[in-house]
Amino acid sequence: MLDADFFRRWMTATAASVDREADRLTDLDSPIGDADHGSNLQRGFTAVRATLEKEGPGTPGAVLALAGRQLISTVGGASGPLYGTLLRRTGKALGDAAEVSDEQFAEALRTGVEAVRTLGGAAPGDKTMIDALVPAVDALGESFAAARDAARAGAEATTPLQARKGRASYLGERSVGHQDPGAASAALLIAALVEAAGE
C-alpha cells in the first residue's frame, strides 16, 4: 500500500531529479522552445518541496493536490498548469484515503493524464508530455520500473516527431530531430516513483 509518505518521497525525488537535470531540460527547450523549462520546473518543484514540509498534508490525495496547486502558482510557464493539473486531478481521484493500492494509484494517475489531455488538447504523437505519460500509465499496472522505462522510451520517441502543440508547433518541420522537453521532464517524474518506492 502507498501512504502519504510515499507520495511525499515521490515529490521530493522529483524535485531532486529536476535539480540534477535542469540544465538538460533547458537545453532541450532551447532549439524548439523558449529555454526556460528546466528553470521553471526547478522553481516549481522547489516550492512543492517547501510547501509539503511546511503544511504536512496527511493523505496521498492531499499531498498531490497541494503539490499540484503549488505548481500552478509558481512555475510561470505552460508546464505549471499542465503538471499542476496532472497532480491535482490524480490527488482528487485518490480521495481522502490514508493509504491507496498500486492499482488505485494507477487508475488515479490515468484520470490525471486524461485531465492534462483535456486541458492542453494534446493527443499521443503531438510531441508533448502526453507521449511519455500515456505509455507510463499503461505500464504502471506491471511495476513502477516498467512505467519508468515506458516513459523514457516514450520521451525518446518524440525526437523524430513534428510538434503539433505549443510553441514548438510554430516551427513546423524544424521541430523534428529534437526530443520534447515536456516529455523528458514527464519521464523524470515517472522515474522518481521508482526512487520513492526504494526499488
Partner: protein, 136 residues
C-alpha cells in the same frame, strides 16, 4: 441600464507591458472606458515573461463588481493557467469566463461593450466576434 453592475475585464499576457498597454488602449478607444473595471495581469511575479496564477487571480478579484468577469489571454501558458484556475473552482470570482478572442481586438470590443452596461454573455460574444473582423 445605469444602475447595472459592470462586467470586469482581465487581460492576461506573457508580458506585463503588453497586458498594461492593451488595457490602456482598450480603455482609450472606449472613450476612457466609462467606468469599466479593467485589470492587466502580465508576466511573472518576478517581472519576466510568463504567466502568474497569483497575478491573474488578484486581477480578477479587483475587477469583480458582481456582474461577471471576462478574461482575455494571449497564448500558451496564459490560456492554460486561466483554464487550470477555472477548473479549481474557487480561485476566480463566480461567473468568470475565459473568452476565445483575439487579444487586442477582443479587448477593445469587450471594454466598449461592457461600457454600455451589457451583461457578461454580450461582452463575451462581442469579444469573440472580433475574430470575424478581416483586415484584407
Amino acid at each position: 441600464m445605469s444602475d447595472t453592475r459592470t462586467v470586469g475585464i482581465v487581460l492576461v499576457s506573457h508580458s506585463a507591458e503588453v497586458a498594461a498597454s492593451v488595457a490602456e488602449l482598450a480603455k482609450g478607444l472606449a472613450g476612457g472606458g466609462a467606468g469599466v473595471p479593467v485589470a492587466a495581469a502580465g508576466g511573472t511575479e518576478g517581472g519576466g515573461f510568463g504567466t502568474s496564477a497569483e497575478l491573474v487571480a488578484a486581477a480578477a478579484a479587483s475587477v469583480d463588481r458582481g456582474a461577471g468577469v471576462a478574461v482575455l489571454t494571449d497564448l500558451g501558458s496564459a490560456v492554460l493557467t486561466v483554464k487550470a484556475l477555472l477548473a479549481e473552482g474557487d480561485e476566480l470570482p463566480p461567473d468568470t469566463r475565459l473568452v476565445d478572442a483575439p487579444f487586442v481586438e477582443g479587448a477593445v470590443a469587450a471594454v466598449v461593450t461592457a461600457s454600455t452596461g451589457a451583461d457578461l454573455a454580450a461582452v463575451v460574444a462581442a469579444a469573440s466576434e472580433a475574430y470575424s473582423y478581416r483586415k484584407v
